[in-house]
Point group: C2
Chain length 231, copies 2
DNA sequence: GGAAGAAACTTGTATATACAAGTCCGTTTG
DNA sequence: CAAACGGACTTGTATATACAAGTTTCTTCC
């Protein structure tokens, strides 16, 4: 199968870098030089170089040239999917127990985090997610009623809070934190964890329409759950 | 400051989506329509739409049109920097104690993971990273000697293993796993951790030049360390 | 030998035009 | 009514050309 020219140019450059011919900081051939070498237009070469720049393979300095970027060796990008998507991706059965779903007053620290005034109310949902019957995640979530006023009318056994929020509140910004923590006794029991076993906790705060939409703690049993991936 | 035309088109589309005017699955105006609306060439419009597609904001179907992409609400992308880069980014002082650096025989399970034959030898380094004197990470690393034959001749008090491997072994592939684990007593003491406190563990395996280059376990005290970020 | 200026080289953005290839819709035919 | 075909519309890739703006190199002058 014949690749488009701009893809061939990208591959050519990436092969040189992977083979160690060009190292970090080395200058790659100019657009003009690549134009001559590949017999294509400058716009075709430019597209290849711009895409490799967006992918952090190259870096460009106007007037000076195009260089091999500092490899992002020290940065690992980890993608964490929603628990339902992850379980479905394994071909397993996902189910949710709705332990709580109501609207109540938030304590001051949480009001700050949700961007609400003291004494304000928010929706609170507490779910236990299972994979093939086995508890795998406790989802402890608070939702800004201004963003999703009908949150508490949903059936979260049939649709996850994530899926619902995706529909009503386009995502603008995310803040996250991953921690190893010792869970309280209730969470330990809900997740069927052993004594002394820690939790893997993902804390997320999301924004939509210029405001905080949701704050969530996702607790996972440390022995049975890890975030994994590759790229 | 006047933005280039392709950036204005990107912003226009992103504003419509953020405001909720266009939802997931909605079709956005065609290239031809945007050409007329903005009074620019089709290639300029095409660039804007292609870049938004690469950024997962839009999705394109040849012949059919351009649509608002399913929001990646359920996927959190987490970037984990090297400990030295992270500490430097906080403006703090990084230091490493080299606890071990030698070449020895790997046990069978590790040989499999390193892609080496049974009984083969590999380099092993054990470092304690400190931030302003405080232990923050134990780095337990095995390195394939075929990839970095002079690994054991380096001074890892002055350069981190990461930085060294960046130079000699261009990165091709990464596999990772994040876990909450209970550390053994030695690691607990090295990291000055409390009894019962768990570790946040990042396990990475990297490839270079078509082979496994390195396998590393990075242990962090759960109470003092989290992976954090935003986007 | 150093400074200043000009020339050359480089990337950034843009255009009108063209052909390829895919999808969708409306019309015609059986 | 269904299938097939053609036209219109859409994205995918590409070109030669142009001007703007930044960097580097070379030449000239003091």
């Amino acid at each position: 199968m014949n690749l488009p020219a701009y893809r061939q140019i990208k591959d050519f450059i990436q092969r040189h870098i992977s083979a160690g011919h060009w190292r970090e900081g080395d200058r790659v051939p100019s657009e003009h030089a690549l134009t001559r070498e590949f017999g294509v237009s400058r716009m075709t070469v430019n597209r290849a170089l711009r895409e490799l720049t967006a992918e952090h393979v190259l870096t460009r300095v106007k007037g000076a040239g195009t260089y091999v970027a500092r490899p992002r060796y020290e940065s690992t990008l980890v993608e964490i999917k929603s628990i339902a998507a992850e379980i479905a991706g394994r071909g397993h059965e996902h189910a949710s127990d709705v332990l709580a779903l109501d609207r109540c007053q938030v304590h001051p620290a949480l009001a700050v985090e949700l961007g609400l005034r003291r004494g304000a109310q928010a929706f609170h949902s507490l779910l236990l997610h299972r994979e093939k019957g086995m508890p795998i995640q406790v989802e402890d979530r608070w939702v800004n009623p201004a963003i999703a006023p009908e949150y508490d009318l949903q059936d979260f056994r049939r649709i996850t809070p994530n899926e619902y929020l995706m529909r009503v509140a386009p995502l603008q910004k995310v803040e996250y934190r991953i921690e190893a923590q010792v869970p309280n006794a209730i969470t330990r029991r809900r997740l069927a964890m052993a004594a002394g076993e820690p939790c893997l906790l993902l804390h997320r705060r999301t924004w939509s329409q210029g405001r905080v939409a949701s704050v969530v703690d996702l607790w996972h049993p440390g022995q049975r759950y890890q975030f994994t991936g590759h790229f």
